[in-house]
Symmetry: C2
Subunit: 439 residues, 2 copies
């Protein structure tokens, strides 16, 4: 941009028009004029470009309203694709989606474990190529890769990944390396943020609301979507609900603070409590290290590689969850205690952000969500601050295990659909309240 | 708006142009084209309207860059005014600001106390008229009244006010009544949200950042500003940091939850602890009821009215604060304990929203902020989750007592300056991360 003030760059009306078409399903050029506020000439030009590029197709006519019949436009979903990659210590989930966000292929592979980042990146590049080939999609139609992993993100996204279980990744320019190896543009973000976007795309949440996706994998995070747009914060680290304090004098957390939700109630805390109950631990097979890789959560690189693997909290948490589902009262009590902390943290988040919708997502909620859902729901019904104004709708995700990868792909699609400084999507709840006219 | 999809209404380019001129200070028409992305013809029309209405004035020429010399435009600050009213149990603060947000008149009057809302509204209408007349401003140049008070806000803003100390206001259509009595448009919001906006306007915070104003009056709240725009949440109740939980088994709060910051650390909790220390209470004059109205905090209607007034926590908190400033170790310890809780809650907020800037504001921080500032600052420096990415800048407001009223006036100005569905101000941290191109 040019000009002496901090302002707005020229807008891509093409991207704005494309996003309105996506949201509308089908729409006429006149409808686009009404919906965007752009001139007829601008709409004409943008639509011509979109038709030429094959992103949009004409699809019949609207009912006549007296004048000329209006040609309807719709997205051409198979004109472009995006890859979503959810990289975690314990597993890597890949999805390939079409331009409308529909999943056309998916696969899950062993996680980063303690392997060298360069080795994992090479594997990811190969796995994405295989996935694209498996469904016969032309490589040129793939817009890019969305790569998401647990936070915190560094000041520069190119040195983004450094969760505690993946220390080797600190300072590693994963976006540049993967872009080079895969020959595709790469965008990096936090997995909980991506999960929120994935839930948003999967569900078609109303764009006016503030939604939170509570994400529980090995850690706990939240993704925040305001008016259909992911809220990322100053440095892309928004939504760290795992590091909301619930006990100022509580146990120390790896983040450096005390009494964080994650250290009190995260899967590792649940597993530690289960191990401390010797009888329970023996009953559910926790004693003596790892408990296997059931529920697709454990993953990790094969022990044949010679790596000394840490025990897998994901697999152990799955074992506790299975026991709770079987009706083991001690296992159930541990999960309910965890759920109570998470519910209180969800209330704090809801009180701070006046949230309308909460979805529980991520691999650990995929397994144990049925225990957590009623506890979170009841806490918010009983003591959400603004309950007099509106309820908070709490639900369990239908795609808890794949939401981060779907959201990662959606991040790439949004970069095509929504211009970077989008003009037409100021969320309603960022707008000022309406004036009541004086008499 | 019309059209078949939920989209964007036609944009007021006049309002958009006015806001860019305000932000720029001085700017040419070419600069406006560059900054807004609007066409030359649209800019010409909008500028002509603004000149006709007197909102903008021409002010000399830019340096020649070879071609025609460019006429510079700037806001005409005294062309319009706005009233900000901060209504609280213990005091009502009024400010009159010009179009640039500069305070041209202010006054403070006794608070709502337990009086009938209708009576207080009549008083507010009279006081605003007096304030306007006192500086000789033409009533027609006053755009409207921003009225702010403690939360929670109801589902409809017209039944907005119902903090615990002002129960009579629940269901009372204060916006309509005041608009009718004062003959001016009225917009209602939460005082902490307004304080954040007031701090933003006073300081010229960068519009890309997420800022939080921690507000402490008799209660504790926070106002959130994302990219220069107040974040209000689903129902205008965002920022309730006073109802973040710091102890899941803590004491019950009036909001219905347990262990809230407000019940553990708010001014009333500090005063209760001071009263419980009999020696301290006697030393600082708390025993036997109210402690006077020093520091402008107490207010309240004169006892001559015959009302039976509740004791004033604001005045009592001021007494504890004065004692702490005099070096009373018990009083200081009570404030430091409160500060520690508030600091931990500020960390939770910062971790959830990835906040860049925190300002302590509101009447109680105006009095005791020097005790709270270092505690909050140190907590965030030591244990903010994303401290590796960026620090959180924590400051004490220079206008802690008047920020809510200034922000209330700014809300009115924004409704003139920024169209309701502003197009040109999507905050940067709501935008998607940039793609790193593939090779």
């Amino acid at each position: 941009m040019s000009g002496p003030v901090r302002g707005t760059p020229h807008v891509s009306s093409k991207a704005a028009v494309l996003d309105v078409i996506r949201a509308a399903g089908t729409i006429s050029r006149v409808g686009l004029i009404n919906a965007t506020g752009l001139t007829g000439a601008t709409i004409s030009t943008a639509v011509r470009k979109l038709l030429d590029e094959g992103l949009v197709a004409e699809t019949g006519h609207a009912e006549s309203t007296g004048g000329k019949r209006r040609v309807l436009l719709q997205l051409n979903p198979t004109s472009r694709f995006a890859l979503g990659v959810h990289l975690d210590h314990s597993g890597i989930t890949y999805v390939l989606t079409d331009l409308a966000g529909g999943v056309v292929a998916r696969t899950t592979k062993p996680g980063a474990g303690t392997r060298e980042p360069a080795e994992v990146v090479a594997r990811m590049a190969a796995d994405t190529a295989t996935l694209i080939a498996s469904v016969g999609v032309d490589h040129d139609r793939v817009l890019g890769i969305g790569l998401v992993s647990p936070g915190p993100l560094g000041a520069r996204t190119s040195t983004a990944i450094r969760p505690p279980a993946m220390r080797r990744w600190a300072g590693y320019p994963v976006d540049q390396e993967l872009a080079g190896a895969a020959g595709l543009p790469v965008v990096v973000d936090n997995d909980a943020t991506a999960a929120a976007l994935g839930e948003h795309w999967s569900r078609g949440m109303g764009s006016a609301s503030t939604s939170a996706a509570l994400y529980m994998g090995t850690g706990i995070g939240a993704g925040l979507v305001i008016g259909g747009i992911t809220y990322r914060g100053t440095s892309g680290n928004a939504g760290e609900i795992g590091h909301v304090c619930l006990d100022v004098d509580g146990p120390e957390c790896w983040c450096g603070a005390r009494g964080c939700v994650e250290v009190l109630a995260g899967p590792e805390a649940v597993v530690a409590a289960a191990r401390a109950d010797r009888e329970l631990a023996e009953r559910i097979g926790l004693v003596g290290g790892r408990s296997g890789s059931a529920d697709g959560l454990s993953g990790g690189v094969p022990s044949a590689t010679g790596d000394r693997l840490p025990s897998s909290p994901a697999a152990d948490f799955a074992a506790v969850s299975r026991a709770a589902r079987r009706g083991d009262p001690q296992a159930l009590a541990l999960l309910e205690r965890s759920a109570r902390y998470i519910a209180v943290a969800a209330r704090s988040l809801a009180n701070l952000m006046d949230v309308e919708f909460v979805v529980l997502t991520g691999p650990s909620f995929a397994i144990a969500g049925s225990v957590y859902l009623p506890v979170v729901r009841e806490e918010l019904a009983r003591s959400f601050f603004a309950r007099g104004a509106h309820p908070v709708d709490v639900r369990l995700s239908h795609a808890a295990a794949t939401a981060p990868a779907i959201g990662a792909a959606a991040m790439v699609l949004q970069s095509e659909l929504v211009p970077l400084h989008a003009t037409q999507r100021l969320p309603e709840n960022l707008a000022e309240p309406e004036l009541v006219p004086g008499r």
